[in-house]
């Protein structure tokens, strides 16, 4: 018998290939819509309305919103991919192909998360490419930008897996994105700086984890943030550790996938 490391390495690669093939096969549903949404946001809020708003945090308004729009696409798509892929596998029972195989639980989670990250980054890159038609910003800190976007998409892909573990119907798959993720993302400072808010709402906003991710990403691209960038990285890492532990606990116990 091969070593467990060798088996799990091949299994992980297999899962990544399967995940990427899944979302690229239906690219009209997975890749194109976020790019069209970004195009509309940048046209309406960036060009038409943004020209009347002026500067925000020392940047042109359209330059200010580009990082947030890219991050919104990354967050939504990382989450959507993981939740729909895992739930689809559960619903059609082909998750059993993985459960009967000698694949470690960590690798199962990593495979679904990698698929979410791959789609998130693919969509993020496409939205970034679309934004180049509207702005000519140069990335101030490429390494930090990449680090924040990869960590954020990892975090939301883990969230997607947890959602799928508990989901019993397709309605359950859309509840969190519609009623939790979208409000948090829109209130996470995509279109405004939290410094503009009254003190009370600025304090309330600090409890929104998405705010730290968008600001971290904005800092990487524009070089400015509403608060210390180390807070962003700390919050993202804490959430990854907490949600990752929850996901592994659920998969290990077989909650939602084994009776």
């Amino acid at each position: 018998m091969k070593s467990l490391l060798a088996i799990n390495t091949v299994a992980f690669k297999t899962m990544v290939v399967r995940e990427v093939r899944r979302f690229t096969r239906i690219w009209v549903q997975t890749i194109v819509p976020p790019a069209i949404s970004a195009l509309l946001y940048l046209t309406i809020f960036g060009t038409l309305i943004g020209s009347r708003i002026g500067e925000m945090d020392g940047h042109r308004y359209i330059d200010f919103i580009v990082p947030g729009i890219i991050m919104m696409a990354v967050i939504t798509n990382s989450y959507s991919n993981a939740v729909s892929s895992f739930f689809g596998a559960k619903f059609q029972h082909y998750l059993e192909e993985l459960l009967v195989a000698p694949v470690h639980i960590v690798v199962i989670l990593a495979g679904f998360v990698a698929g979410g990250v791959a789609r998130g980054l693919a969509v993020g890159a496409l939205v970034a490419a679309v934004s180049l038609f509207f702005t000519d910003i140069t990335v101030q800190n490429p390494l930090l930008t990449i680090l924040v976007v990869v960590l954020t998409s990892t975090l939301f892909a883990i969230g997607g897996v947890i959602n799928a573990v508990f989901a019993k119907s397709f309605d359950d798959v859309s509840v969190i994105p519609n009623f939790v993720l979208t409000p948090l993302t829109y209130l996470g400072g995509i279109f405004y700086s939290v410094k503009m808010l009254p003190d009370f709402w600025e304090s309330v906003s600090m409890f929104n984890p998405v705010l730290y991710m968008i600001n971290g990403f904005r800092y990487g691209i524009l070089g400015s943030s509403d608060f210390d960038i180390r807070w962003s990285l700390f919050v993202i890492l804490v959430f990854i550790v907490v949600l990752g532990s929850v996901a592994l606990f659920l998969l290990n116990r077989g909650i939602g996938i084994k009776q």
Partner: protein
């Protein structure tokens, strides 16, 4: 060595349903073993636990001498499962389904591709290898699940009703395929509702009912313990008078057909002599049901009666 051994395996679902009441099973390496039982008896639950798809409540499982709980990866690598329900991604092609499954067992893509083509060919699916799996017929989907279960070359193959809903021609070809596989050394555990399938393929059998093993042993041994057999006799001419038989039980009489129950060990010569004496010519004779089926039905019926008593 035992390919599979369960000790006091029990399962109670969250709803309170007791599916397994501590079953003990032993399947020898190289055996072709039937696990029979009526619907809801606990067959699929037992298979689900053995294949790590369900959590057990109590008991232990050994696969080729290795404890499933402490050496789960090894045990999983030895087992191939053909489940009752279609459970592959129907939007994938058969070839990709097999390559992906092989990957989960650590088989690199090049080797997995070779094996996928090999098993698709041996199960008559090669021509369909690049079609979307949802376009396959029911029989093809069943064969694809067999191919998928074999792609990592398991030493123990577990089939949960593999021929359900499959036409007789495909069922026969599947029997041949499984017999050859067993002859080549693969241990096979089969659950089925077609008892002639179990009788013709399997050497050993366990009958499970109400979450308990109610009978187990060699198929031939169990059949020898079947107390009665029913025969259907087709007659040359219609008979309108009531037939009188001594030592045999006439179950039903139609103008050109008789159904007669015969105790095991009773000679048939006397039956034919009695019929000839009443000017009745028998054209042909056949078992009403196969012998294992009769034994199974009697056992399940007895078990039901003892449970209600």
């Amino acid at each position: 060595m035992n390919a599979l051994q369960t000790k006091a395996l029990a399962k109670t679902y969250g709803s309170g349903l007791v599916a397994l009441k501590g079953i003990n099973l032993e399947v020898q390496q190289g055996d072709f073993f039937a696990l029979l039982g009526p619907n809801g008896a606990g067959k699929s639950t037992a298979i689900g636990i053995i294949c790590s798809l369900l959590n057990k409540t109590a008991g232990s499982i050994e696969i080729f001498g290795h404890d499933l709980d402490s050496n789960r990866e090894f045990c999983k690598s030895q087992i191939g499962l053909v489940p009752q329900e279609i459970n592959f991604n129907v939007f994938e092609t058969p070839r990709n389904i097999l390559i992906t499954q092989a990957g989960y067992y650590g088989i690199a893509r090049r080797e997995a591709s070779t094996r996928a083509d090999e098993y698709l060919a041996s199960l008559d699916l090669y021509e369909k290898r690049n079609q979307t799996a949802r376009t396959l017929s029911g029989g093809m989907k069943r064969r694809l699940m067999v191919a998928r279960a074999l792609v990592h070359r398991p030493k123990l193959l577990i089939l949960d009703e593999p021929t359900a809903g499959v036409d007789i021609e495909i069922r026969r070809s599947m029997w041949k395929f499984l017999s050859d596989l067993n002859a080549a050394g693969t241990t096979i555990i089969l659950t089925t509702h077609y008892l002639e399938e179990a009788e013709s393929l399997c050497r050993n059998v366990a009958i499970i009912d109400g979450g308990e093993i109610v009978e187990s042993g060699a198929v031939e041994e169990l059949l020898s313990r079947a107390m009665v057999q029913s025969f259907v006799l087709d007659l040359a001419e219609p008979v309108s008078v009531e037939i009188d038989l001594v030592g045999y039980r006439l179950i039903s009489q139609k103008p050109r057909q008789l159904e007669i129950e015969v105790n095991t060990g009773t000679s048939m010569n006397d039956l034919f002599a009695q019929l000839a004496a009443q000017d009745i010519n028998v054209l042909s004779m056949r078992n009403k049901a196969n012998r294992l089926e009769e034994f199974f039905l009697r056992l399940v019926d007895e078990n039901k009666k003892s449970n209600t008593a």
